[in-house]
């Protein structure tokens, strides 16, 4: 976090003797508009960057060193979203080659249809989505209650349904569409979480658990919301 020195300390532009162009800041620009609900919890060292707007719904939790980037497209985080350490959200946060080259062996088969964004641009995370450590999320949409476990990569334009579980270290290629209640595991296997699908009370208890988790974060993590609001 680089903070600018007081402007008074700098020589004003007309007193500069050098004709060289002043070096512009290499730091990413602050988002043009950040809409934060007052109940959002943003930990120290969480980052919000980019030029497009970022919207964060009530009760969301950003852990330290999580990064929300709206450099290429806007980002919307729904109510109760949890973003863990070093997860990166937003289009353009992952380097293109990291997805396949050195990361891991098994990858879901690419559904094709080119690399360009098929849907409306931006990233929308639904209510109670959990994105764990070291994930790279460039997806356009993740439905309510889905969990993206540690070290996953979700490619651009992915549409993930409700109550999906993307288990750890999975790579979802760009423009993949996953139905509601899908579980992706073991790299490229998929199944439907039938229990979650058929039983409303399971989803309900899931929700309750998530709410309790959010409460606990609120107790444990100091809030730096004021810095961004």
């Amino acid at each position: 976090m680089s903070t600018q020195p007081a402007p008074a300390a700098r020589p004003s532009s007309d007193r500069r003797t050098s004709t060289l162009q002043k070096r512009t800041s290499t730091a990413l620009p602050k988002p043009s508009s950040i809409v934060l609900d007052p109940s959002v919890l943003i930990a120290q060292h969480a980052q919000l960057t980019g030029t497009h707007p970022i919207t964060i719904g009530p009760g969301a939790v950003l852990h330290p060193h999580s990064k929300i980037s709206s450099v290429l497209a806007p980002v919307v985080l729904g109510e109760g979203v949890v973003i863990y350490e070093r997860a990166r959200i937003g289009v353009g946060v992952g380097d293109a080659k990291a997805g396949d080259a050195n990361r891991r062996t098994s990858v879901l088969p690419d559904r094709g249809s080119g690399g360009s964004l098929a849907r409306g641009e931006g990233t929308v995370l639904g209510r109670n989505v959990v994105v764990e450590t070291n994930c790279v999320v460039e997806a356009s949409e993740i439905g309510e209650g889905s969990v993206v476990e540690a070290a996953c990569t979700l490619g651009r334009g992915c549409v993930i349904g409700r109550y999906c579980i993307i288990s750890a270290a999975s790579v979802i290629p760009a423009n993949t569409r996953l139905d509601d209640f899908t579980v992706v595991y073991s790299g490229n296997e998929k199944r439907i979480n039938q229990t979650m699908k058929d039983r409303k009370e399971v989803r309900q208890s899931y929700k309750t658990k998530h709410a309790k988790q959010l409460d606990m974060f609120r107790k444990l993590i100091p809030n730096q919301l004021a810095k961004w609001a």
Partner: protein, 214 residues
């Protein structure tokens, strides 16, 4: 974390060395330092996250005293945590409340780069390769080798002397006789032939490795 005041104008190196010989990178991200104990001669490299702030909030039911246990991460001696790893204590719902549990990491444990660790306990002489994910409440016994990109499912108990790998991880072999012993002896699947010339062996004593970190 206090540096001896006698040392003046010491060149700012990458690591801060504590009195007990722990080397903690200046670029590591440690939250809740009060809840973390390092055994001594332990190396925390750059970009390592230790989530000490996620600590137990009520006394364990077994303790007779009224003082609550707040240690959330305890790490033994000569343990190396490589760059980009995240150590986060596991949590679950217990008696209707989310509760974080203290995690223990033993001595001479090597944790490779870019791991995510939420195990409840990791015993001594465990070698964890790069990009490994360990889910909450996994328990890893002594002399275990975890292969790269493994995903250890929640609540898995890994018996001592096993080699595990895969997504989800399974026991794929045993480390065999002589694992962790220096010199030319190396057993098991891919057991430590690369460690030999560097003066340390996977699963062996990491003192040499710790000493080489500057």
């Amino acid at each position: 974390m206090s540096r001896p005041s006698a040392r003046k104008a010491a060149p700012k190196g990458e690591y801060i060395e504590t009195d007990s010989g722990n080397k903690v990178s200046r670029r590591s991200a440690i939250t809740g330092t009060a809840n973390i104990t390092l055994g001594g001669r332990t190396v925390i490299m750059a970009d390592v996250h230790l989530r000490g702030d996620l600590h137990p909030t009520r006394a364990a039911p077994s303790t007779s005293g009224k003082e609550p246990i707040t240690t959330s991460i305890s790490i033994g001696r000569c343990t190396v945590i490589s760059t980009g790893s995240v150590i986060r204590p596991p949590s679950r719902i217990s008696r209707g409340e989310v509760h974080y549990y203290p995690m223990k990491i033993g001595d001479n444990v090597f944790i490779g780069p870019h791991c995510t660790i939420s195990a409840i306990s990791i015993s001594s002489h465990v070698h964890i390769s790069h990009h490994v994910t360990i889910h909450p409440f996994a328990m890893i016994k002594e002399n275990v080798k975890i292969l790269p990109h493994a995903v250890i499912p929640a609540n898995m108990v890994i018996p001592s002397g096993s080699v595990v790998g895969g997504q989800p991880a399974r026991v794929v072999g045993e480390v065999g006789e002589g694992w962790g012993v220096g010199g030319g002896v190396s057993g098991g699947i891919g057991g430590g032939e690369k460690g030999g010339e560097k003066g340390w062996v996977e699963g062996g004593d990491l003192r040499e490795l710790v000493r080489s970190v500057k």
